[in-house]
Structures are given as structure tokens and as C-alpha cells.
């Protein structure tokens, strides 16, 4: 890590990601991992996976992973700075668009803008999924658990995910204890 101010670095990492996070927070998790673990080496692979799991099991949007990383890097001030860097740029843009568009009728451009950007969101979500699973401790079991989970939720997408997440965690504990 360089001598550069840590808060400035957090802003430089998260603010650009804020503006390309089409499709929501889960589309940029892969790059958050890349920046936090590979580029800036704020945390280890294992620690990243722990924090990622917490952000998924906790309430609120998954983008709160950023809050956790900021906190891990530099305490409460880090959490605050990282969160602001992630949420303010996209919110400012959304606010300006909302204000400009408020009260106007739905226009046809909605349709083609959404059609043109949706495939990027889809690609980012899948690329992030692959990046994170590659960051797990290795072995086949996380890949198999993720694959089975993807198949399950593709079919039963209205199921409350929380108990299923807990079952996935328990399976990995059993695998590590008895099969590894």
C-alpha cells in the first residue's frame, strides 16, 4: 500500500464503481474483490469471503459489503467514507434523472435503454459470481454448492433465501470436517 491517504483511496476505488453498478450492487462484487484483495491488499481472500458472507446474511442491500470493507480497512470513518463513495455518486445521478423526468409520461426510450443495458448487468452479475467463487479457499465443494444453489433458486425464486443460505453453510462445515 502506498503512502496515499487511505480515505482518498477508498473514494477512488468505490466512486467509479458506483457509476457503473447497473443491475445493482451484486454486479460489481467481482471488481470490489479485485480492488480490495489483489490491487490494494486491504484484506486476505479468506477475510473477504467472511465479510461477503456477512453482507449476504445481514439485512439491507448486498452493497453494504462496501461498508464492511471500509470498516475493516479503517474503522468507523472508513465505513462511512466507503459507503458515501459507493452510494452518493449513483444516488446523485438517480436524483438528477428523477427530478428531470418527474411528472413526464413514460417514453419509448425507456424500452430500448433498458434492453441495451440489461445484458451488461446480466454479464456483470455472472462474472462477479465466477470471480467470488474463484476466491474461495479452493476445492470442489464451493463450486458444487454454488451450482446446486443456482439451479435451486432458478427454479424456486420466491423461496426465502435465509434458511437456504444457512443450509449451504452447514454443508460446507460438514464437508470440511469429514471429507477434507
Amino acid at each position: 500500500m502506498s503512502d496515499e491517504n487511505i480515505y482518498l483511496t477508498l473514494v477512488k476505488v468505490f466512486a467509479p464503481l458506483s457509476l457503473i453498478s447497473i443491475g445493482g450492487g451484486q454486479s460489481i462484487v467481482g471488481d470490489i474483490h479485485h480492488q480490495a484483495v489483489d490491487v490494494h491488499q486491504w484484506l486476505t481472500q479468506g477475510r473477504f469471503i467472511d465479510l461477503f458472507a456477512i453482507s449476504r446474511a445481514a439485512p439491507g442491500p448486498g452493497a453494504l459489503l462496501t461498508t464492511l470493507i471500509g470498516w475493516d480497512v479503517s474503522g468507523f470513518a472508513g465505513a462511512l467514507v466507503a459507503s458515501l463513495a459507493l452510494f452518493v455518486p449513483s444516488s446523485l445521478l438517480a436524483y438528477l434523472v428523477t427530478r428531470a423526468w418527474h411528472g413526464k409520461r413514460e417514453e419509448p426510450w425507456y424500452r430500448w435503454v433498458q434492453a441495451g443495458l440489461a445484458p451488461l448487468a446480466t454479464g456483470l452479475i455472472l462474472a462477479s459470481a465466477l470471480t467470488i467463487i474463484r476466491a474461495t479457499s479452493g476445492g470442489a465443494s464451493p463450486w458444487i454448492i454454488a451450482g446446486v444453489s443456482a439451479a435451486f433458486f432458478s427454479r424456486f425464486h420466491k423461496v426465502n433465501p435465509l434458511p437456504i443460505l444457512a443450509i449451504g453453510g452447514l454443508i460446507q462445515v460438514l464437508v470440511a470436517r469429514f471429507l477434507a
Binding site: G60, F87, A118, P119, S137, I167, Q172
Partner: protein
Amino acid sequence: MSSQSDPTLPPPASFHAPSLAELALPFGKIGISSFGGGLSAWVYREMVDARHWITEDEFLGAVTMSQILPGANIVNLALQIGFRLRGGIGSVVAVLSLLVPPMIVVILLGIALTSIGHIDWLHDFLEGLAATAIGLSASVGLRSARRSLRMGWWPSLLSLSVIIGVFGLQWPIVPVIFGLAVCGLFIARVKIRG
């Protein structure tokens, strides 16, 4: 359609805009009780069904917009509804009440994890949980990839380009997405005559 579903008209005379505190309450509730996605269904229940603050049409328009724009969809949705009900300050109150309570929870969980220290089975548990969450996230991507097939081959090709560029070649994400966004918007504009 009734005038109530027309967002260009002012709300009916019987409509009382909620106070800022009244606005904060349901968004705080949604933020703290929402687990693992599906948050927009909660917003629908609170805003359209339970309180009649916005119409179904307004809700659907806001959802579409929240998906087009960058940023967490639920945050963009709260921002738009807050604006619709109370203007700019409404946006700020809705987003903060949505985010601050779960932020506190997530940091408390981080502190708890750190103070426990490294325990093998706990890390294994979190790793299995993370893998399951990745599957959940991938299922969202897979379903939208399947839906996009009815528009032809080009959406899948764009998605695949993102995966190859960002995951395969590990190119920087910002230029990859901006470049492909230009392609995507161009193709969609040609294919879909608006």
C-alpha cells in the same frame, strides 16, 4: 385508466403527503427486515398496498428506472418514491432510513466476527453461506439471460463479452462496461424502434 394512475396529474385532494417521520418509518422497516434480496416486493406492500402513497403504475415506472440507473436498485427506488412524496428532502430521508439501520447491524456483525477470532468451522460455515449466496445471485443472472433470448442472439453475446472481458481477461471494469454500453445502446436502438 382512472386519473389516479396518471402520474402527470397532481394527487387527489384527499391525499395527504406523509410527514418525513412517517416516510422514514416504512423504509427503516424495509431496510432492517429485508434479507437476501426481494426488497422491491416489500416496497410494493408498504407503499402501494398498505399505505396507498403511490399507485401501481408509479411503482412499476420507478422500478424500471431504478434498474436502468446505476446503484443498488432498492436505493434508487427509495430515492424516487421519497422524491415523489416529499421532494428532495424526501429522497434523502427515504435513502438514509433504508441504509443506516442495516449498516449498523452489518458493522456490529463484523465486530462480533473479529472479536471471536479465527475459528475454522466458522470460516467454513461462512464460505458455504457465501457459495450459496453466489448461486442465488447467479440464478438472477441466468434467469435474465434466458429471458433475453427472445430478443435474439445479441443480448447473450453482450453478456458473454462482459464475462470474457471482466472475469476471463480481467480487464479494467470501467472502460469495458462503458465500451459495451455504447454497443448495447446502439444495437437496442436499431432493433427496437421506439
